[in-house]
């Protein structure tokens, strides 16, 4: 066990000392909100935060990423042949990630790393990233991690966990990766009984603060076609703008688009985040669109998260309960409310 207690200053100094071993991402104050940024960019970490506006998914799965490059120059003997773009897979760490967002990575991993296919870029980044979590001392009223299998101090998907004890952090190693990270850190004193007790009390207090608990127990047994044909979708979707805010901020939305971009005689094949809210997402070349209408797209998003995923992976819902979509939806579409409607739906 390498569990240690660090003074807050010492902890940040320790992280700075790991700069050559890891690319370290930390929460940084960015305008009105927080964002995960590399420590190397000179911004001071701010661990006294609720959660970042954008989930940290871009650290492993960038919003826009070059996959391949190629020449379109006929004089080039290799013209039109795709070559993998060079990428950095060296070790990184996300320090201060909330347990819900670590859960998010676990959920996305099921999509990108499955028995049939492995997404090489995701798999390598996921493998080389250490997740050093930060327990949530003050969950928001919109948080519902405990309803989806997590909790403000849930350790399952983390490599290490920091607990904010006021003037110092208790840092627990949880996996080999996490222990390895902590072993490289300087400073700190072995964790004492008092620190564990304090942490336990904080965890208990935090879980009491979670006030939202949308029920999910009946989702599995609901019939897909019943939920699909449920009468509430038009109503749920009425206010929706069909913007991509919820999908882009979500730590568990993984859908993407692949596009070619050409600059002169040089081209790139690029992967961009995409959103099921956009009509273009499913538009056929023929002009036919199976999800032509707004309510169909809204239904897809919630059915995917709360039914299709549940059936496909038998591992809970595709939601980590971080509450971002609730907080940032410009028209207040609330997944907690929809989850409850789906869960409690009685077919006629």
């Amino acid at each position: 066990m390498t569990d240690k207690v660090y003074g807050k200053e010492k902890w940040i100094q320790g992280l700075e000392g790991l700069k050559n071993d890891y690319k370290i991402y930390v929460p940084v104050k960015d305008g009105d909100f927080h964002a995960f940024m590399p420590m190397s960019e000179g911004k001071a970490p701010d661990f006294d935060y609720d959660n970042t506006r954008m989930s940290p998914k871009a650290v492993m799965y960038p919003e826009s990423e070059r996959l391949f490059e190629y020449s379109l120059d006929d004089a080039d003997p290799e013209a039109n042949i795709l070559k993998e773009s060079p990428k950095d897979f060296s070790p990184r760490a996300i320090v201060g990630i909330r347990p819900c967002d670590a859960h998010g990575f676990q959920i996305v991993n099921r999509n990108f790393d499955n028995p049939e296919y492995r997404d090489p870029w995701w798999v390598r980044r996921f493998g080389s990233t250490t997740l050093v979590g930060l327990g949530c001392n003050r969950p928001c009223s919109t948080c519902f991690c405990t309803a989806v299998g997590g909790g403000p101090f849930h350790e399952e998907w983390l490599d290490a966990l920091m607990v904010d004890l006021g003037d110092r952090y208790l840092v627990k190693g949880l996996t080999d990766k996490g222990e390895g990270f902590l072993a490289k850190m300087t400073g700190g004193t072995p964790a004492d009984e008092g620190a564990y007790k304090e942490a336990e009390a904080l965890a208990e207090e935090a879980s009491q603060k979670i006030v939202s608990s949308p029920p999910t127990d009946r989702l599995k047994d609901q019939k897909t076609t019943d939920l699909f044909n449920a009468p509430f979708w038009e109503e749920v979707a009425f206010g929706c703008l069909n913007c991509g805010t919820c999908t882009y901020l979500c730590p568990t939305c993984w859908c993407f688009d692949i596009q070619d971009e050409v600059f002169g005689k040089q081209g790139d094949r690029i992967r961009n985040w995409d959103s099921c809210m956009f009509p273009l997402f499913t538009l056929h070349g023929s002009g036919h669109n199976p999800r032509d209408q707004k309510f169909q797209r809204v239904r897809q998003r919630f059915m995917h998260k709360l039914k299709y995923y549940v059936d496909k992976y038998e591992n809970g819902v595709q939601c980590s309960g971080c509450g971002r979509c609730v907080r940032y939806c410009p028209v207040n579409i609330d997944i907690r409310d929809i989850c409850e409607r789906m869960n409690n739906f009685e077919s006629a």
Binding site: G31, F238, L241, C243, P330
Partner: protein
């Protein structure tokens, strides 16, 4: 506000009961503070769901586009001006609409409130006319509404609805001594390089979610130019050139049509001051054509008409 809510409920109930409208569009109270949701009701007994307060900053005209039924809808000044534009542009018929006019004293900027309480979680807001009380788990603070208006509301000179069939209350006094374009003048004074830098910084956070476009009642094109693939006008990755192209082209498409309702800015999840793109064009329309969008049903927006006798040279 409470008065308005009751009045809206009462009118909606009556209109649906008397079958003067098929549906009624308004807001319902949101599940969190400072957030309300556009709602459509079809039965008189649902009228109790309707709600109005200082956080109804979307544009309900957005929900009228190409509907074919008879619609009751609430509209403050800017929303009603967009309805005028919608009627002129044949997106809806005047006869289909029963407009319940709301004399408006401006919306509160929810981001300014969050800043004022240092981003502590807000659990409740109590609105009392000129002041409002913000409550959190361990704090309670009172603020003056006037100091927290959305930036577009602070400079609004058309608070009363332009067209309506009925009002929920007395017309309010219009603001007169506002200088609406101070920010634009600052940008105008910059040299081209600085301007480029200003706008590039502005969109630095853009995630291309298109909330601004989708919240805008003017953006009703069946296929937006950014979604065209044959030819593809705009790249899909996050190259700043593409992102700037999107925002500039969209703004130009709204020139002479934008009512400065602020919906684009309100919905932006990244907090980009979207109005910086549209305001310059509003200012030009005012200065060059004495035009403000949506004030009259008798005239099309200046960039939407062709006249053989136009006095400008470029058109000949």
């Amino acid at each position: 506000m409470v008065k308005y809510t009751e009045k809206i409920q009462e009118i909606a109930k009556r209109l649906l009961q008397e079958e003067k409208v098929d549906v009624f569009i308004g807001y319902r109270k949101g599940t969190m503070p400072m957030m309300n949701q556009p709602v459509l009701i079809t039965a008189p007994e649902e009228a109790a769901r309707l709600y109005w307060d200082n956080f109804c900053g979307l544009n309900l005209c957005n929900y009228l586009t190409k509907r074919t039924d008879r619609i009751g809808v609430i509209a403050n000044g800017c929303n009603s001006r967009n309805m005028v534009t919608h009627i002129i542009e044949n997106q809806i018929q005047r006869e289909q609409l029963y407009i319940v006019g709301i004399p408006c004293e401006g919306m509160i900027d929810h981001r300014a409130v969050m800043r004022a309480v240092h981003y502590k979680e807000i659990l409740d807001i109590e609105q009392n006319g000129k002041t409002f009380v913000v409550k959190g788990a361990d704090f309670e603070e009172t603020f003056e509404k006037e100091k927290f208006l959305q930036s577009n509301c602070a400079v609004c000179t058309h608070r009363n609805p332009v067209i309506y069939d009925e009002l929920v209350g007395e017309l309010v006094e219009e603001q007169t001594d506002v200088s609406a374009y101070e920010d634009v003048e600052k940008v105008e004074a910059m040299d081209p390089e600085k301007k480029q830098g200003f706008f590039t910084r502005l969109i630095g956070r853009c995630i291309r979610c298109y909330a601004c476009r989708n919240a805008c009642p003017l953006c009703y094109c069946p296929t937006c130019f950014v979604d065209e693939s044959k030819p593809q006008w705009v790249g899909k990755s996050i190259d700043p050139t593409d992102t700037l192209t999107f925002h500039f082209l969209r703004a130009y498409h709204c020139a002479g049509r934008c009512t400065d309702c602020g919906a684009c800015e309100r919905v932006c999840p990244m907090g980009i001051p979207m109005r910086q793109f549209t305001k310059k064009l509003n200012k030009d329309c005012l200065e060059l054509f004495s035009w403000e969008a949506g004030l009259t049903l008798d005239q099309r927006p200046p960039l939407d008409v062709y006249r053989p006798d136009d006095y400008n040279d470029f058109i000949k």
